[in-house]
Amino acid sequence: MKTVPQESRILVVEDEAIVAMLIQDILEGAGYRVIGPAARVAQALALVEGVELDGALLDVNLAGEHSYPIADALAARGVPFAFVTGYGNVGLDPAYRDNAVVQKPFSEAGLNQVLQSLLRSRGPRVG
């Protein structure tokens, strides 16, 4: 399964520790390097500012706060991302419904599949 080029860096934003652990395990098992996990919007924004990213997985609801500002920051930098949410895509603000969504609970294979297509959409990292 180690098909990930150059150990792509994936930001994980998830406020529930146990779920964050699962995502981290799946991603690391597949050869990704996990940035975070961040549990709050501010933490995540700081990581977006400061770290070179290849992709991101965003929980929508972070202890009552929406993760949309993180999505905006990622979009501004051209970093592909997917929402990971129990709401499914109907729970998203209409402005973000075109983004990829991973429905909780997710399978390992399902999560990997979404990540791979995210990275393909971006193409090889420059630099």
Partner: protein, 546 residues
């Protein structure tokens, strides 16, 4: 014939003076026999009777000048009665005819005729005419015999008043009728006075007015009932928070209840006769309702709609309204009655409920994700095989997918086709034709049956991938079902797969299918390990999800 005799009996035995006065008074009570002249003369054959001729001073043909009476109702002592011998034959026959007329008159009348003592303590006589009991001999207990208890004091008071004033007694009161029931009478009696102005006797007539009173009472009752109903409806219409109103065919408001006037912040006077535009509706809104009124008038059928309107004090509200036709006697729509309910709060509650269900679903999904993670952490390393972890994950996701289907319908019911589709999506992407056949009439299932079936299908599918038809190419699975008089019969049939044999030990899937599922569905589940493929038959009674 009998009646005639009865009529005669009334004055039989009267002293002449009384009879004389009585005739006069009865004559004054009753219509005269001829214009201006009342002549009453008893028969000459009966010597008890006085020979009297009463004649008014203005009679055009006074028969006997000597006996002419003035305006007084009683006769003076000086008024000498002429003897029959002094009268001409003509006068005698005229008097005879007059008496016969009077007798006939009393007989023809349906009125009860009675005689009372001067102070009314005694009733001398009463001819009941089938309405009241006859009194043939004097009786003192007449009040008890004829008058109902409740009316006695009233009768007594009227009598006292008449005696005191020496004037006509007249009263309408309840009486005990001949048949024992209570009736009504209109009774009138005149005092007969002697020469000194003292009451000698009372002569009375009483008519049966029971039917009229009944009709009056019934009418009064009906009118009262109508009044009560009117007050009842007015109270309801005024008290209800719903808007109630009426339009004429030309779109004018003809009525608006308090709730509607409050919504407009207008008075009825300011609003009656006005069109929608004139009471503050926007043009589009007025236009919409006027076209709806047209439709009600044209079709004679009611319409219902939903619309927003700015309430004078509550702000923007959402309303559910109904316009109903009011028909005239010929069946044409003559007006439109309307009722409108403020459904703002109901709508909000519905939205809130939807939000809650969405939120709950989200929580459930998050919880499942948490369970998934816990399992993954727990089984880490050598604690469990990769295969076991995948099986766990698959089951968890199957449960989650079934939840999703149910959430779409607010957990009321799920479509069987959708449940099957969701359960098999992870196993068949539909790209290989013939690999999966799903066939049967769609059916709504209640939540619990839906979840149970989804889990069963997941087990069957993952078993097929591991050991059954889907473990090799070219094989097929058919899921078919039918509704057999209230029981759903669903078969999972694998074909063209590897040879099948019964499992040596009963795993989670087999256990769930054979035991758990039949219990949960209250039906039968059979697993048939046929040579050419597993056949699972699930049969259970359908229950109405609603």
């Amino acid at each position: 014939m009998n009646d005639v005799l009865k009529g005669q009996a009334l004055w039989k035995g009267l002293p002449p003076a009384r009879l004389r006065a009585g005739y006069q008074d009865i004559a004054s009570m009753q219509a005269p026999a001829c214009g201006g002249c009342r002549r009453i003369l008893p028969s000459t054959e009966d010597n008890d009777r006085p020979r009297v001729l009463l004649c008014r001073s203005n009679c055009p043909r006074p028969a006997l000048r000597e006996t002419r009476l003035g305006k007084t109702t009683s006769m003076s002592k000086e008024t000498a009665l002429p003897s029959l011998e002094n009268e001409s034959e003509l006068q005698v026959s005229a008097l005879k005819a007059s008496e016969a007329r009077f007798r006939a008159f009393v007989t023809a009348s349906t009125d009860v005729i009675y005689r009372m003592s001067p102070d009314w303590s005694e009733m001398h006589e009463l001819d009941g005419r089938g309405f009241l009991v006859d009194t043939e001999a004097s009786r003192r207990s007449w009040l008890d015999v004829y008058v109902v208890e409740e009316d006695k004091s009233k009768v007594r008071a009227a009598i006292d008043d008449a005696i005191r004033g020496r004037r006509v007694y007249e009263l309408e009161h309840r009486v005990l009728r001949l048949d024992g029931t209570v009736g009504w009478t209109h009774s009138r009696a005149v005092p007969i006075l002697d020469e000194g102005g003292e009451i000698i006797e009372w002569l009375g007539a009483a008519s049966d007015v029971t039917e009229r009173r009944r009709a009056q009472e019934a009418l009064a009752g009906m009118t009262g009932e109508l009044e009560r109903q009117k007050r009842f409806y007015e109270e309801l219409i005024s008290a209800t928070p719903d808007l109630i109103y009426a339009f004429d065919r030309d779109y004018h408001f003809t009525f608006a209840n308090r709730a509607l006037l409050t919504m407009w912040n207008r008075t009825l006077e300011e609003s009656a006769g006005k069109r929608l535009l004139e009471v503050g509706y926007e043009a589009w809104h007025a236009e919409m309702h006027e076209r709806e009124i047209d439709r009600v008038v044209a079709t004679g059928e009611g319409i219902r709609g939903e619309v927003g309107f700015p309430h004078a004090t509550l702000g923007w509200r959402t309303y559910d309204y109904i316009f109903m036709p009011m028909f005239d006697a010929t069946g044409n729509v003559e007006a439109i009655a309307g009722t409108t309910r403020d459904i703002t709060d109901i709508k909000r509650a519905e939205e809130h409920l939807k939000l809650l269900v969405d939120e709950l679903n989200h929580r459930v999904k998050n919880t499942l994700a948490t369970i998934q993670s816990i399992a993954a952490q727990t089984f880490k390393g050598d604690a469990a095989t990769v295969e076991a972890r995948a099986a766990f994950e698959g089951r968890l996701i199957a449960l989650s997918n079934a939840h999703t289907v149910l959430t779409r319908t607010n957990w009321e019911s799920a479509s069987l086709r959708e449940i099957i589709g969701q359960a098999l999506v992870p196993f068949d992407d539909g790209k290989v034709p013939g690999r999966l056949l799903v066939e049967g009439p769609d059916q709504l299932l209640p939540p619990q049956q839906s979840l149970a079936l989804a889990m069963a299908l997941h087990e069957l599918a993952s078993n097929a991938v591991k050991y059954g038809a889907w473990s090799q190419p070219g094989s097929a699975v058919a899921v078919c079902w039918s509704n057999q008089s209230g029981r759903l019969r669903l078969t999972w049939q694998e074909s063209a797969g590897p040879p099948v044999h019964s499992p040596r030990r009963s795993g989670f899937g087999t256990r769930l299918l054979e035991r758990g599922l039949s219990r949960e569905l209250d039906g039968q589940v059979t697993l048939d390990y046929r040579e050419d493929g597993l056949v699972c038959t699930i049969e259970f009674p359908l229950v109405d999800p609603c």
